[in-house]
């Protein structure tokens, strides 16, 4: 009977389902399976697990994902095998996606160690936090590899939904709830823009596959491309929102300020990295033939982000808001690399993102500690006299801030140098000059915090806020971030080598 039914509907010919090259998708599978097992375990053993189990578990899963990347990296680097495009061209496995995935996993490890101490202090529920970090990283990893705009969109949504929930995690802080709601509403709005852009692009090219979009545009010159331009513009809006570029940055200060401090660090590091990865993949690779049209827009976004981020950060008094505006300025720097639309620019952007991941997670780990019980002490006053109370903590914070300002011998300097060099090579002198000027302006803001820590006396001589404790988790994060910031600042070779190799490619090779 089924046979006749099939015959009647004209489905007689066999459906060829796509092959899934499981081994090539190992990093994403490890993240997702690890998170799923964690959810079940957390539900089954509710209340009987120590809080640190979640953090350590997430770190182990993310570490396993990084380990699984190593053989894959060698495999796609091997000219005999090369990068592939898996599951009917939906997701690409190339060195770009592997690099970004490794970066996201590193961010998960550091953020979950910071969060362990935070959850303990604030008395919040443990394992779900780390699980959401893992799921967010899986979404970001899918974005970095997406060869199809629909897959890109779902990746963004997976990442964003997890981070919306994380932002609203602190049930007892109204500002955390506010931050989650704001991020959710505005993020949903931005996603709608992105989706509309994808729909218009589909209308113009007849496909959502970046590979086929690319070949469609390579094979013909569109005499009228209003629909495609509209699609590109709307997609750019969606991505610009996710990276927090001006004028789509309005959510950043409020959300960064209200979200739990470890989440803010993860947002700054991982969400930005994943969003830029998606942007690089769609615009620099997929719409390379339209670079002349989108580059000026990206350049304008970069200038606006640099200027607004630097100027607004100077006038803030809340350190988390300062860092939020500074993250907008950092987004402007990465946009320089995107705007270059070259292999060099992409490599510089990736290097910058790696550097910023280390710096941001370290900075926000310190912010987590200084925030104190209740996560409320984030004014500049809270940092007064920190150099005397906790010299080590103040020293680490100074290092992170100076690195963000772009001081030589730190990774931040090399990162800024890389994107500015890429901009100059792409003949974007104006952009490069604006970037250097705004770097000077934001240095003032970073120095304000440093001065407060060392040269300002605490308001009340007797510390009524009590001794700041540095739990082991935060200690690990700060230690790793300090080492990364300094060592890679002096010996950038290995990371530079990796980011130079990690170029996104669109290939039609379907892996088995």
């Amino acid at each position: 009977m089924f046979a006749t039914l099939l015959q009647a509907t004209g489905a007689g010919d066999k459906l060829v389902t796509p092959e899934v090259p499981w081994s090539h998708l190992a990093p994403q599978l490890i993240l997702v399976v690890g998170a799923t097992v964690g959810v079940i375990a957390a539900a089954a053993l509710r209340g009987r697990l120590r809080r640190s189990v979640g953090a350590v578990g997430a770190a182990v899963v993310a570490g396993a994902a990084i380990v699984s990347i190593i053989p894959l990296w060698h495999r796609v680097s091997n000219p005999a095998q090369g990068p592939i495009s898996a599951v009917n061209g939906a997701i690409g496995v190339d060195r770009f996606s592997l690099f970004v995935t490794a970066l996201l996993c590193a961010a998960v490890i550091l953020a979950s160690f910071t969060a362990e101490a935070y959850l303990q202090r604030e008395g919040l529920d443990g394992p779900e936090f780390s699980l959401l970090l893992l799921l967010a990283a899986a979404g970001g990893s899918v974005m970095a590899g997406a060869n199809d705009l629909i897959v890109m969109f779902i990746g963004i949504e997976v990442l964003s939904l997890a981070v919306y929930v994380l932002a609203a995690m602190h049930a007892r802080r109204i500002s955390s709830q506010e931050s989650g709601l704001k991020y959710f509403l505005l993020g949903g709005f931005a996603s709608a823009f992105l989706l509309y852009g994808i729909a218009l692009t589909y209308g113009a090219t007849g496909t959502t596959s970046l590979l086929r979009v690319q070949s469609f545009l390579a094979e013909r010159v569109l005499t009228d491309d209003g629909l495609l331009l509209g699609g590109l513009a709307l997609m750019l809006v969606g991505f610009a929102f996710k990276v927090g570029a001006v004028p789509f940055h309005m959510w950043t200060p409020d959300v960064y300020q209200g979200a739990p401090s470890p989440v803010t660090g993860f947002m700054a590091a991982a969400v930005k990295t994943a969003a830029f990865a998606g942007m690089l993949r769609v615009f620099v690779v997929g719409f390379a033939s339209y670079a002349d049209l989108w580059r000026p827009v990206v350049g304008a976004l970069a200038i606006a982000s640099l200027v607004v981020g630097a100027v607004m950060s100077v006038v803030q008094t809340n350190v988390k808001r300062m860092l939020a505006y500074s993250s907008i300025a950092h987004a402007g720097f990465v946009l320089l690399g995107v705007d270059a639309a070259s292999a060099e620019g992409t490599a510089a952007s990736l290097f910058y993102l790696a550097a910023y991941t280390a710096m941001a997670l370290g900075t926000f780990a310190v912010v987590t500690v200084v925030g104190g019980s209740g996560d409320g002490a984030h004014t500049l006053d809270a940092y007064r006299g920190l150099g005397r109370r906790r010299p080590g903590l103040a020293l680490a914070m100074s290092l992170f801030l100076l690195a963000q300002a772009g001081t030589p011998v730190t990774i931040g300097f090399l990162a800024k140098l890389g994107v500015i060099r890429a901009a100059i090579d792409a003949d974007q002198w104006a952009l490069a000059i604006v970037a250097m000027l705004t770097a000077v302006i934001s240095t003032f803001m970073y120095l304000r915090i440093v001065v407060a820590m060392y040269f300002a006396e605490s308001e009340s001589e007797s510390d009524d806020r009590g001794e700041l404790r540095i739990p082991w988790g935060v200690g690990v994060t700060i230690g790793v971030a300090v080492i990364a910031t300094l060592v890679l600042g002096v010996v950038p070779g290995p990371l530079e080598h990796l980011s130079d190799d990690a170029l996104p490619v669109l290939v039609a090779v379907d892996g088995r």
Partner: protein, 199 residues
């Protein structure tokens, strides 16, 4: 030939009018229940457009899932929160924001109109980039697309649902105590906020 295209144009015009009117109603009406019902009108209009494109399955799904299930869910939530609680947006109307929004929105409308009416091919460069549909019904085609080209995206949505469930469970948990940062919200009535967190 002429008659068919006239019928098509008329169907499109009517359905599009229903869609746009509904969408305006969602934004402009004051009562949340009316907003939700306007959304039904929009979704219904889209369903009619699907039928005009011979996508009968999509049209049915549109009505059953969106107009049926999702809007009913919206109505449930609105009823639970209290229908008579009309929100006032008066305080949030900045004249500058209205002006900028109006100019940008108007600009997009004009741009869309120019693109549409300047010529048949202006928007895409070609009349149809997808080509004629293969001679099989839409149910078949959707199924094929889901299990071949979009298999990965289809599986990925399950991850999205997992996160949605996890997030809903997490955020609906009762807080372990009263809010601790009321001093950061001096202008607002602390009691109303406290209730919100407790709920």
């Amino acid at each position: 030939m002429f008659a068919t295209s006239l019928v098509q144009t008329l169907t499109f015009a009517i359905a599009a009018m229903i869609c746009v009117t509904g969408a305006l109603g969602v934004v402009a009406l004051r009562n949340p229940v009316h907003n939700a019902l306007s959304l039904v009108a929009t979704l219904f209009g889209v369903a009619v457009l699907f039928i005009a494109q011979e996508a009968y399955f999509l049209a049915a799904i549109q009505v059953i899932v969106y107009a049926g299930a999702i809007v009913v869910l919206f109505l449930f939530v609105i009823m639970l929160l209290g229908v008579d609680r009309a929100e006032s947006f008066a305080a949030e109307r900045h004249p500058l924001g209205l002006a900028v929004g109006g100019i940008l929105g108007g600009g997009v409308m004009v741009l869309a109109a120019v693109t549409l009416f300047a010529g048949v091919d202006t928007a895409t460069g070609r009349r149809s980039t997808v080509g004629a549909l293969a001679p099989s019904d839409d149910l078949n085609r959707i199924g094929r697309a889901l299990f071949t080209e979009y298999a990965f995206a289809f599986e990925l949505t399950s991850l999205l649902l997992t996160i949605a469930v996890l997030g809903a469970v997490l955020l609906s948990r009762r807080a372990s105590g009263p809010p601790i940062d009321l001093d950061e919200f001096p202008a607002e009535e602390p009691d109303a906020d406290a209730e919100e967190v407790e709920a």
